[in-house]
Symmetry: D3
Subunit: 134 residues, 6 copies
């Protein structure tokens, strides 16, 4: 049984490698590397897979999952600049793939290891990403 909580956060970012010049960054990442940043409404689905607890009829209490997402994701990334404000991306290019990877690892550390975890991230309505660990 899989259960999911959907949340959103709004952030600025630019695709950028600090070991490349602005020109090289623009050549590879195009307008996504605008030096003054751009931004997105990120939509995040957090999927937990496990057994139904016969006591509660829940896999996991979604109120609890919501709190974990708040403390691990929203409080860290919402209304921030991913490149400048977030230590997770100090040395990591904030592509949606890397954002998904970072979020998965932040959540994985807080979610009981008996559960499988998948995150699905919409950067725009047309660009979607999914990560379940290796």
């Amino acid at each position: 049984m899989k259960v999911c909580r959907r949340e959103t956060f709004n952030s600025a970012h630019r695709l950028f490698r600090s070991d490349w010049s602005n020109e090289k960054n623009e050549e590879v990442f195009g307008k996504c590397s605008n030096p003054n940043f751009h931004g997105h409404n990120y939509v995040l689905e957090t999927w937990i897979e496990g057994d139904i607890d016969p006591e509660t009829g829940y896999v996991i209490d979604l109120k609890l999952l919501k709190q974990i997402i708040k403390s691990e994701v929203s409080d860290k990334f919402d209304h921030t600049n991913l490149n400048l404000d977030c230590k997770e991306f100090e040395n990591l290019n904030p592509t949606a793939e890397n954002i998904s990877f970072v979020i998965w690892n932040l959540l994985r550390a807080k979610i009981d290891s008996k559960f499988n975890l998948t995150v699905k991230l919409w950067e725009t309505e047309n660009n979607i990403f999914e990560y379940s660990g290796n």
Copy 2:
């Protein structure tokens, strides 16, 4: 090849174990255990996995799948109180996990065993559930 039919149904329910007191139910389930019930527009995706029939180009005729969902799910649960009107939840707490489990079993009994079956259920736009059997 997987094919899916999406349908909706509207029901009242409360999260409730009859072997617990109202106080214990409220402590565990919070406002979802309101004694006078609350309700949802449930959205159900029914996914069938199988081979394409070379005769028709269908995996399964979705008109047929729609009829099965109507008789097994909509006719039973739409515009009902899951706790009071539905024998499936007489002794089962109608969490979305348990609703998904019940629907999967109702549909599984009517769908050819050569097909795999998955149900995906939205209880709200932010809480989503998926079950594929064991």
Copy 3:
């Protein structure tokens, strides 16, 4: 300039006039009058029309509007049975038209009279309602 905040609430209800028999109620309202209730995820858009405040660039601070909607609508109706739990519908049939009318009046009393007010309510994805006062 019009600005809108979108919120949701989940309630049980039945269409019912206490001065009619159950039979008359069922004849007129059909399955929507199921005696044990059914329910919906209501989606509410609250639209405020006014001038942009040159100080803030806002028509109204949407954080404030969100608080008004919480205290006047969500706290009253979310996770309730509209017929049994809400004094507003003690003697009023909770059709979506009447729910829209009640919500508009509750919000109107709390929103500065310099603003025009419109509420738009989705009872299902196919049934939508809008009220702007007389």
Copy 4:
């Protein structure tokens, strides 16, 4: 007859008045005034009202409207920082109200005066804005 073209653009911004201190900005605008910016996927509906041209059956060729939106809105604002990159907001706080006002004026200058014009802007899925001129 009204016709509409829907487009999107992705921008960074912060709510900010340069004649106020960062502290005053944060007091009034909260996390929306984060000094390093945040961002959004803006969704823009551009509505044109006019008569059907009996020659073409169009009010306006939506391919033409799409080009006007591209040159006046997307090319100016997509993948930018509204505060730093866009002269329209050099001295104007980029609230969604002001963005709607700016876009309406940019489009109004390029659309035949025989047509009425309305813009509708989603800053998030819950915050929506609409402007039709005075």
Copy 5:
């Protein structure tokens, strides 16, 4: 008070004037004039404005409105070729504007004159049309 019922229909069409050559049609209408047609999932919102009936709490019974839309719109246009199968477009170019105009007139003839009527039509997720009569 305004109430709305949302329905969909799926049709083939081409933009085409029979008094123009295929070349002229293609010059004006581009790929929308492909001689072998293309098609759309049309989404139709039918909005009725009137007073709440104090007897029922309805403006109009949406089950009744649904039946009118079925007989006047879906039965006529769903799973058809608008150009070839529908007498309404025998001599009328089936642009979305003209489709909206035709639907409005078909519904207007069946809906009590005490009600105002507006139709809103999505031809794609990005092209939207609205007609309320003159």
Copy 6:
């Protein structure tokens, strides 16, 4: 890591086997076999599974994926009649299952074999299809 690009195309089609009579086609496929065709707004999600390239932080540049979808799918099928205009369906009934199969094969030929590929196709908002190869 999975990444997805979402695109749309609008086509006419009819379900039809040329080795069956019109009567047999109508008996099996119903209104979907209307001789003059009907049509749909198809929504296509193309999912690529692979490792994150440590150089770019991308699995695949979505601008590149968008170009491949344009040349292999949109340029071939958008604003066409699948039965009459597209050689892929000259001898293949254009059910959504077969359309998904054809699109998967067209894309598979152009996408590096180190990536897994899945296509997900919405024919309507209620009928969805997914294919990942054998």
